[in-house]
Symmetry: C2
Subunit: 222 residues, 2 copies
DNA sequence: TAGAACGTTTAGAATTTTTTGAACGATGTA
DNA sequence: TACATCGTTCAAAAAATTCTAAACGTTCTA
């Protein structure tokens, strides 16, 4: 009994092709999910990505409540996340005459948004690391000179190791900078980043366009 | 009474310069913290970064228990995270003769490790997004041709929007590929990614070295 | 064979992050 | 003035993540 009904229903599923509306709905949901994942991957809240997705696929600006309904989330949560999107320049507000509601639309100049994030977030992070590393290395340099005892050897060892890491982060930071400013990057020597014999970073000013290569020159300590 | 004692102690802190041992300890802790943050930033567990840091600063390989002691963590936690590090190729195991313990050391060829991660994780993620997008777009293309009704307009609108995103992810994916394979990337046209008039991605095979530019040619749909 | 030394697994504890819903202030309307 | 709408804030709930400690299986040693 039950079995046969289930069977018939399953058959129906595969037989009847989904209606256009249903298909659209599926495609949209998939898209929203994807951007949610992307957001999470980059350390943002999943909802941020989902909100952006909803706005991105909307021909006209939406209100807070529209989005609450669409994503079945709470007003508070949407409010917080939409403002985060605004701060990152991924979403902008639209004011309508004699309408007290706020409307939002997605920034569709993707590259603008992405490079904004790279500049504001990724670079800030890398700078912090680089600064901290440089500070530690200064300190170690001092120690390896002034203080005697077993610390000297350790200090020198630490210095060697840290230098490798600093190069890497410097390279990453320069890469980000190039992305934001529209330069060019050559990775062909990236694998030599850690070598102790001098392949360091440099920026070549070549006919107005910056170019980052991994060869000679210094990545001058802090 | 109490006040004056606190005061004296605070004075002492600023007067007595920290001993070399204490300084070393501070530098090390700072470093460990930093790599913890880096790990977290990239979506790994904080402890993973910390473990790597400890090994990175150790002249000789360490055992599980060494690390447990150093980081004041639990054996289970360290065990799990050290194996994750191994899987990512950031740490390798060392076997010692007639010693039942496992010793670990950091992979110091940083670029090898980084490009491994890019290849294994970041690219996998971007591929998934691109595939899903392409699939949705195929579906929308079909709909905009076959089905009539209001869905057609929407489908076309979605297609336009999604195309922009797909270009971005394609570009990102190619960038990753170049990083891993040692090519070169020119970002000077990146800001035109979203334009509807043709600036697309291409890989120019130029004297054996790959080069990714953002101009003409197709990023051929899946 | 008993017991010690190691590394792994795992259930549940602890912590952190995310979400909710109600309260609130501000602004407009009848 | 009373009431409705709208967005924000925040304490508490819920969910997800990370951590711990004990149990366990192996391998080695006495």
């Amino acid at each position: 009994m039950l079995d046969s009904r289930l069977f018939r229903e399953r058959r129906r599923d595969t037989e009847t092709p989904p209606s256009p509306e249903v298909q659209m709905e599926e495609v949209t949901k998939e898209f929203i999910n994807n951007l949610g994942r992307v957001a999470a991957f980059f350390g943002f809240q999943r909802l941020m990505g989902q909100l952006y997705a909803v706005l991105f696929l909307s021909p006209e600006p939406l209100t807070l409540d529209d989005m609450v309904k669409r994503l079945e989330s709470s007003k508070g949560n949407v409010s917080i996340n939409i403002r985060a999107l605004e701060r990152w320049g991924l979403v902008r507000q639209i004011y309508k005459w004699a309408d007290r509601k706020n409307y939002y639309e997605a920034e569709t100049d993707i590259w603008k948004a992405v490079s904004g994030i790279l500049q504001e977030r990724e670079r800030k992070e890398s700078q912090q690391i680089i600064d901290s590393l440089s500070q530690s290395m200064d300190m170690l340099t001092l120690m390896s000179k002034s203080a005697g005892g077993p610390e000297v050897t350790t200090a020198q060892f630490y210095l060697e190791r840290m230098e490798v890491l600093r190069r890497l982060f410097q390279f990453g930071d320069s890469l980000l900078d190039m992305m934001v400013r529209g330069g060019a990057v050559d990775f062909s020597n990236a694998s030599k980043l850690a070598q102790s014999d001098q392949p360091k970073l440099t920026v070549n000013e070549s006919d107005g366009l910056d170019e980052l290569d991994l060869a000679e020159v210094d990545c001058n300590p802090n």
